[in-house]
């Protein structure tokens, strides 16, 4: 437990390396995500951002390095959760408090919007087979509580009128918002958004940035996002981490990044001097 993780860091990635065969997707990546911040992870295509995300959320095991999640209840190491015998798996990472959305939306398309949110709250429901079959009062109480919470979240992401539609029928922008609401229903400490603005029009992007702020300000969740929309990134994030070719090349405030020579070089290339 005595890891040298900074006091205010909720998530600490330390010397993360991930190899796929001979390809090194991430090489010695280290960064901290401050509790209660909105942090962005940017970089050109193929920089290894999504690989970092998959390592953080437990979908990949790291080849080397550690990822620590620190909550008031205690500290967990992601790699340890994954390598537990028999019971280990990425679902434990979600239970530890890391929620995520996906670059290509992954909703339960043939289920209703509400049911999508109910599935996310399965841990707060009465999962005993018999109390469910006999519909005990405890079962119905918890079911109602999770329904109420689902309606609450639908209101927050402005999807109330779609509550009983199939998730697959919704427009792209609405599906994105639903996915965020679903991730939030798991009561996370940190939510990882993988390109939340991809495929959204400018108005939807504005609404999204408001929503992300709201998540942090009103619901006390730390936000970590990957995004290519620089307008959005510069507007909402307090801390930006820039990756290129599998390593972190710079990190800092939006102003710092905007004027950073290495970042500009990574995105635009350098002039050839002869």
């Amino acid at each position: 437990m005595a890891q040298d993780v900074k006091e205010d860091a909720i998530l600490s990635v330390q010397h993360l390396t991930r190899r796929f065969g001979g390809i090194i997707a991430n090489n010695d990546v280290s960064f901290d995500v401050r509790r209660g911040s909105i942090t962005a992870l940017i970089g050109p295509n193929g920089a290894g951002k999504t690989t970092v995300f998959n390592c953080i959320t437990g979908f990949y095991t790291v080849s080397a390095g550690h990822i620590y999640l620190t909550r008031p209840e205690g500290q967990v190491e992601i790699g340890e959760l994954l390598s537990r015998k028999i019971t280990g798996g990425s679902y434990l990472v979600a239970r530890a408090g890391i929620a995520r959305t996906f670059q290509n939306i992954r909703l339960f398309k043939d289920m209703t919007v509400l049911e999508n949110l109910l599935v996310a709250q399965h841990r707060k429901q009465n999962r005993n087979l018999f109390s469910g079959l006999l519909v005990t009062s405890d079962f119905s109480d918890k079911e109602e509580a999770s329904l109420a919470r689902a309606f609450e979240w639908l209101e927050i992401v402005n999807l109330s009128e779609d509550a009983n539609r199939l998730a697959g029928e919704l427009s792209y922008g609405r599906q994105r918002r639903l996915e965020i609401a679903r991730a939030m229903c798991t009561d996370p400490a940190i939510i990882c958004l993988d390109e939340p603005a991809a495929g959204l029009n400018p108005r939807e992007t504005r609404e999204l940035s408001e929503l992300i702020r709201k998540l942090r300000n009103e619901h006390g969740v730390t936000v970590l996002l990957i995004e290519h929309d620089m307008g959005l990134v510069m507007e909402i994030s307090e801390h930006i981490i820039v990756m290129d070719q599998g390593t972190v090349i710079d990190a800092g405030t939006p102003e710092h990044i905007r004027n950073s020579d290495v970042v500009i070089a990574a995105y635009l290339g350098t002039e050839v001097e002869d």
Partner: protein
């Protein structure tokens, strides 16, 4: 076909359709049905009897039917029928059962009840052929369908179905007794109904695995065999009776389900199907080849069921008292079948209510979520291992239960009852009925098990008809008889 209000029927078009269909049918079927193999040579027999083997007759029949279908499809009623019953578009319906205050359900109940009464009257008066048996089957079918309806809980609202269910349950339970008492129907019909209900149970079990959890299982018959053989062999070697088997066999089947489930957790779709297929065959081959233990192809006999230690046999062994002696009745082997039927009826009703309830429970939702997207499930903290295993185990449990009833009803089992075709039949019940739909399973199970009984004359063509039915279903209703429906939740009903 321009849309004028007065829909004119194009008879010429229909006639053309009919001729084309007739010729095509003759071309396809004549080479099959008109050649007669005599020792080492073929002879051509154009007017072969029975008449439906006759190539000319087949062509004429099809042309005749095609003509009327073609004309019928051009009328307004025909158009409506096509629109209502042929649903090729993929999709799930979201339905609010309370939207019209339950009017629709009440109407179905009234109509269904009325229809049942008419059938009963017709059947008992002997107007329709094999009347009493058919009437009883239809009543039981209706009762079961009514039992399979979802009753979502709503605050401050009474579901119209709720009051009707106990009444229907009693009807389903007492009517066969009444029929039996008056001697309106005998052993064969009780047996048919029992078999149909065994398949309803099997369909429900497999529907958990395939329909809800989305895991294609081609070896489901293995669990059915485990249940049946547990009773037969348990009685032979361990002295286990019907009632203990009724409780223990599902547990053993669930254990087998877990054992199968564990190694295949990482597999999907086709790969999973092949492994489960292999598992089913392993069980069957063990049953066939372990002759010393299972009796091999000769099968094993199953003891008669008991009720409060009263055996359903003519002469009990030792100092046990047979059922009929205790009540001072003359011996009748039908008591045994009636008893099995009644118990099976009660248990399948319970299984039906449980199945419908499962869908609105966290575990049922997790299964469906897993079917939709496993990765998303993991990202929400759902342990996909336990969710998959629970689906396998609960499905296997119901399969094992069905096996016990099958064995008891038959009195004798052999590995032939548990071959691959049986797995296919159960899977077709699920697919025909509609994935995840309990009512669909009931209708499909009754159709596929009882239709062959009605069509005894066509027994040799059973598989052909079966294939035909499948093809038509895939063309007209690829999602099964009933589309999966999802419940509506209203905000006003949540505190």
């Amino acid at each position: 076909m321009s849309t004028t209000q007065t829909s004119t029927i194009d008879f010429g078009h229909s006639l053309r359709d009919a001729v084309v269909a007739g010729i095509l049918t003759m071309l396809v079927f004549s080479p099959i049905t008109n050649f007669v193999l005599k020792q080492y040579s073929f002879t051509l027999d154009w007017f072969r009897s029975p008449f439906f083997l006759n190539g000319v007759a087949i062509g004429l029949i099809v042309a005749f039917v095609r003509f009327f279908v073609s004309v019928g499809a051009q009328t307004q009623t025909g158009q409506n029928f096509i629109q209502n019953f042929i649903k090729t578009e993929h999709g799930v319906e979201v339905e609010d059962e309370y939207a019209d205050g339950g009017k629709r359900l009440r109407r179905i109940l009234l109509w269904g009840g009325g229809l049942m009464a008419v059938f009963l009257a017709l059947g008992l008066s002997g107007i329709i052929y094999r009347g009493a048996g058919i009437a009883l089957v239809l009543v039981v079918l209706f009762v079961m369908i009514a039992m399979g309806v979802r009753i979502p809980k709503r605050r401050g609202k009474k579901h119209p179905w709720k009051g009707a269910l106990p009444v229907l349950f009693l009807v389903g339970l007492l009517l066969p007794l009444l029929f039996f008492y008056f001697g309106w129907f005998g052993k064969s019909w009780i047996n048919n109904l029992t078999l149909a209900m065994v398949y309803v149970l099997l369909g429900l079990g497999l529907n958990i695995v395939v329909g809800l959890a989305g895991l294609l299982d081609l070896g489901f018959v293995a669990f059915y065999a485990v249940g049946a053989y547990f009773l037969a062999l348990g009685a032979e070697y361990l002295g286990i009776g019907f009632w203990s088997a009724l409780f223990l066999a599902p547990l053993l089947a669930a254990l087998c389900g877990g054992l199968l489930g564990f190694p295949v957790l990482k597999m999907h779709g086709d790969y999973l199907a092949i492994v489960t297929l292999g598992f089913g065959e392993i069980i069957r081959l063990v049953l066939v080849n372990w002759i010393n233990f299972t009796g091999g192809p000769n099968g094993a006999s199953v003891p008669a069921p008991t009720i409060f230690n009263l055996e359903f046999v003519r002469r009990a062994r030792g100092d046990a008292v047979p059922f009929h002696d205790f009540f001072g009745l003359p011996y009748n082997s039908d008591y045994r079948y009636l008893f099995v039927y009644l118990l099976l009826f009660v248990i399948s009703m319970i299984a039906l209510r449980f199945f419908t309830q499962l869908r609105v429970m966290p575990i049922g939702r997790s299964w469906e979520a897993l079917r939709e997207d496993e990765i998303a499930c993991r990202s929400l903290g759902i342990n996909h291992v336990t969710v998959k295993l629970s689906a396998f185990m609960l499905g296997a449990m119901i399969g094992g239960l069905a096996g016990v009833f099958f064995a008891t009803a038959q009195g004798f089992i052999s590995p032939q009852s548990f071959n691959f075709f049986e797995s296919v039949l159960i899977l077709s019940i699920v697919v025909l009925g509609g994935m995840g739909s309990s009512i669909g399973v009931i209708i499909a199970a009754f159709t596929l098990t009882l239709l062959p009984e009605f069509l005894r004359e066509f027994a040799g063509y059973r598989v052909l008809l079966f294939g035909l039915l499948m093809i038509l279903m895939m063309i007209w209703r690829p999602n099964g008889l009933l589309r999966p429906k999802r419940s509506v939740f209203r905000k006003s009903e949540v505190a």
